[in-house]
């Protein structure tokens, strides 16, 4: 199963009241979105990360790895916000930094205020991400269901949520297994081998996931699943 799943069960906050954890994360996410002050964001990020690493004792290396994935995407999209281009001198008149390319009369640079905007946006995104991570790393899925039930979220939503969560785990399991099997047969030695193996991996993964989906469907059916996930209170 997924590492976030096992962490959710083993961390120091695992048995804490789920409502507190959910509300805390929600608050963090809402404040991150509403707030545009860089310093507030910084303080909040520091606070949540400390809580996750020191409070809940999530292993730092796993946490960093998990953060890196969205950060790569974030970084790429922030670049496009900070840097801008224009085709005439007028269009780039408010640029703080301009570089002209002779080719096509192309101007490239940073517009006024874009840098600050980019930083604020980055911090905002990061603090929302760490808020979300706090939730999924400290709260096992059955506690999450309990909270969603209490807030009277529609059962269709909860069903989708749980099945998606389960399927992410299945996806990684299968991908990991196929990758390992290919690696053991030298499938990733060299560029062309790698590309070939990757293509097969994607194809096989699709077929296998469909199979796992059917298996899961059968099991849910046998266990009388009716579209609702029932937890202790009913």
């Amino acid at each position: 199963m997924l590492i976030i799943d096992s962490l959710a069960y083993t961390n120091k906050f695992s048995n804490l009241n789920p409502f507190v954890k959910v509300l805390f994360s929600l608050a963090v996410i809402v404040i991150s979105i509403a707030n545009s002050n860089i310093y507030v964001s910084l303080v909040m990020i520091a606070l949540v990360i400390t809580l996750t690493l020191v409070g809940a004792q999530i292993p730092t290396s796993a946490y960093v790895k998990m953060l890196l994935a969205p950060l790569v995407f974030l970084f790429i999209s922030i670049l496009t916000i900070i840097f801008s281009f224009g085709f005439s001198k007028v269009a780039v008149s408010n640029f703080v930094f301009v570089k002209q390319f002779d080719f096509l009369n192309f101007y490239f640079g940073i517009p006024f205020g874009a840098f600050e905007k980019g930083i604020a946006l980055t911090l905002r995104a990061i603090s929302a991400i760490v808020g979300m991570y706090f939730l999924i790393l400290t709260t096992p899925i059955n506690q999450q269901i309990k909270v969603m039930k209490k807030f009277r979220l529609p059962s269709v939503f909860i069903e989708l949520y749980v099945l998606t969560y389960r399927f992410i785990a299945i996806f990684f399991e299968e991908a990991g297994e196929i990758h390992m099997a290919q690696k053991m047969k030298f499938g990733y030695d060299g560029y062309s081998n790698s590309m070939h193996s990757l293509a097969i991996l994607i194809k096989t993964l699709f077929v296998r996931i469909m199979q796992r989906y059917r298996d899961m469907e059968a099991i849910l059916e046998i266990k009388f699943f009716d579209g609702n996930f029932y937890t202790e209170e009913g």
């Binding site: 199963m1 799943d5 096992s6 069960y9 083993t10 096992p140 899925i141 059955n142 389960r166 796992r212 298996d215 899961m216 059968a218 099991i219 849910l220 059916e221 046998i222 266990k223 009388f224 699943f225 009716d226 609702n228 029932y230 937890t231 202790e232 209170e233 009913g234």
Partner: protein, 263 residues
């Protein structure tokens, strides 16, 4: 089950005119090599697959495939699949065992009672609050059996219950299955190619080969017939070998053989 033929969508015939009567014994064994159609057979028993020809008959009534009849039917017939990883849905042992009960809307006290009983029967009491992924394969198997045994089903199907298990876990499963039959009065159907296990556990045997039943009968009759077993690519159980080639009396379990002082 009568004359069931099942074809996969690509026209591969997985079962060919198979008739199996589960009332012939309390512990029915279905043996066959890999790919003989054992798992497909189970899917047909349970109404997950609908036979292309033939029908499944339960208590004199033909099985209907609408939702309501299937639910009623499955309250009487349960299954433990081969791969426990696929069977377990929740990540916490207690919740997983309680899953079917909760879906059937049992009260929380009743669930507590039943889960406790199921855990006792399957030796999983110590695992109650553990996340499923910290369990060993054998423990997961026990948990998935516990999950099925919470319902008072009269027939339980076990698909390869011993596959991939170590000796101790296998003995444990044997004990659990016997408990179901002797203490709870259930009937069990076990599919496997672990011949020693089937020999010691089951009393009536069906031999499946390439989608057809090639033989059926009381355990001893089938197992002593080497021709049938060879045709189905199956091994003779150890105790049968001891009997046939070492001239020992025919025993039902290994203990009897080794504690027998007459020879």
């Amino acid at each position: 089950m009568e004359n069931v033929t099942y074809e996969y969508a690509d026209k591969t015939v997985a079962l060919n005119n198979v008739s199996i009567d589960l009332s012939k014994g309390r512990k029915i064994g279905i043996v066959g090599s890999n790919g003989a159609g054992k798992s497909t057979l189970f899917m047909n028993f349970l109404g997950i697959f609908k036979p292309s020809k033939g029908k499944v008959i339960y208590k004199d009534n033909e099985l209907k495939y609408d939702k309501k009849s299937l639910i009623e039917f499955r309250k009487n017939v349960g299954v433990v699949f081969q791969d426990p990883d696929k069977q377990l849905f929740f990540s916490n042992v207690y919740d997983d065992i309680a899953f079917a009960l909760r879906n059937l809307k049992y009260s929380e006290e009743e669930i507590k009672y039943r889960v406790a009983k199921a855990m006792e029967k399957t030796n999983t009491e110590g695992l109650k609050n553990k996340p499923v992924h910290f369990l060993s394969y054998g423990q997961k198997k026990n948990v998935s059996i516990a999950g099925v045994s919470t319902l008072d089903q009269s027939i339980l199907l076990f698909d390869e219950p011993t596959a991939g298990l170590d000796y101790a876990s296998r003995e444990n499963i044997k004990k659990i299955l016997n408990g179901f039959v002797e203490e709870d009065g259930k009937s069990i159907v076990v599919s496997s190619h672990d011949m020693n296990f089937i020999y010691e556990t089951c009393d009536y045997i069906y031999v499946l080969n390439k989608g057809s039943v090639i033989a059926e009968g009381e355990g001893n009759k089938i197992f002593l017939d080497k021709k049938i077993l060879e045709e189905a690519s199956l091994e003779e159980p150890f105790l049968i070998k001891a009997h046939k080639y070492l001239k020992k009396p025919l025993f039902k379990s290994e203990q009897e053989l080794f504690y027998d002082t007459s020879c």
